[in-house]
């Protein structure tokens, strides 16, 4: 099963990390994989473009089936391997709804983090404005405070939607990257607790990024957020 899977990935990419965590959780270790370099533009190489015309990572195949969209791939894997590995979508309607809600909100969190940490990537030179960066930072603070409230009662086994689920698969990588880029644990204690509870989970530990992106000097760290 895993042997017919192929993942092309880049280190430090949250979307790539989501798929890797899911593969571990569903006991699909042993998949073929290839680490590529964003810096060397390898995500635009022929090998990637043949599977993913958008030239993006992750790029993922299962047999002849291609799912490059990370959240889609995670849902697919849970759907196809329901009875294998850990259950990542709760059956209970209330938990399930909360899981889908937080999972999709996780995409908003990711976007807002990027708009600060990688502002220069989104706004080419000549189009950058202090007013825009300030607004992005304010929006990020609002967003992070929302997640602090979501994790009010965080504890072992009490994550975003109860037990560990696809919501955590999508969101944890973003928070790991936020703390790596200097987010203050003091200002966001619940997020910090969530991070410390999950960082040693086997699927997460096994797939921890070997290295993170170089962050530009101007799109500063998140330490003042």
């Amino acid at each position: 099963m895993a042997k017919s899977m192929y993942l092309l990935w880049g280190s430090g990419s949250c979307p790539c990390w989501r798929i890797m965590i899911t593969l571990e959780e569903k006991k699909l270790q042993g998949y073929k994989q290839k680490l590529l370099s964003f810096e060397k533009e390898e995500h635009k190489s022929k090998e990637v473009l043949e599977i993913n015309p958008r030239g993006q990572l992750p790029t993922f195949k299962h047999g002849d089936d291609i799912i490059n969209e990370s959240t889609g791939a995670c849902l697919y894997l849970e759907n196809q391997f329901k009875s294998q590995g850990n259950k990542l979508i709760p059956d209970n309607p209330a938990e399930q709804a909360l899981m889908y809600q937080r999972m999709m909100e996780g995409l908003t969190l990711y976007e807002k983090l990027n708009l600060v940490a990688f502002y220069d990537f989104y706004a080419p030179e000549g189009e950058r404005h202090d007013s825009a960066l300030k607004r992005n930072k304010d929006n990020l603070v609002t967003e992070l405070q929302l997640w602090e409230s979501y994790l009010e009662n965080v504890a072992a086994g009490r994550y975003l939607a109860g037990g560990f689920s696809l919501a955590d698969v999508v969101v944890f990588p973003s928070l790991a990257y936020a703390f790596r880029y200097g987010l203050s644990a003091g200002r966001y204690p619940k997020l910090a607790k969530y991070y410390s509870l999950l960082k040693d989970r086997p699927s997460i530990k096994a797939t921890w990024p070997p290295k993170w992106f170089q962050i530009e000097q101007r799109s500063e760290s998140l330490k003042d957020i």
């Binding site: 958008r54 969209e69 697919y76």
Partner: protein, 223 residues
Amino acid sequence: MAKDMTLLWGSGSPPCWRVMIALEEKGLQGYNSKQLSFEKGEHKGKDVLAINPRGQLPAFKHGNITLNESYGACLYLEEQFKNQGNKLTPENKAEVALMYQRMFEGLSLFDKIRQSLFYDRFVPENERHDSAKKRNAEGLKDEIKIWEGYLQATGPYLAGKSFSLADVIVFPVVAFLFRFGLNEEHFPKLAAYHNTVKDRPSVKNTWPSNWKDSPGMDTLKNL
């Protein structure tokens, strides 16, 4: 079942429309439906904030359960009402994979529409640049061409033979493109898809009311 459901929505909003289509497809007509006006800022009103602290539509409740993310609501309804209404998840592995892929690519299409068609709405005057507008317009054109290509390769629906969650999610966005004047001659496969799906009962029954009353724009006519 439907009587325990409430949907707060705004006309023409693809995320709202998705949930309405899903409710119809799963035979859940009869839910409490409340239409609000974006123009009047009603999405930031107390009614909405009580369900959705983000002050966004759709806002959806099923009993004590809240689901304001349109993808989340559609996935939940399909899962919880598996044995009711139309099946929105194909049996075939290849179609399921394609369904998930296209569903989430739908986010790119909607993003590019917003960045281009709603540039002035989201970017304050002193931060606007012609270079950005131009780049975003090119980005939208390239994205639309990608979807035209998808429908050349597969059909009649996005995941292949069966109408699925991919169509529930993406059709409202495609409809939005034609509402803004996308040229049927330039994008014949998208036009055919639009014409096929727009007559589906769940889509017809939930067609944006203000679209019936007024003509669309021709912003995308020359794309």
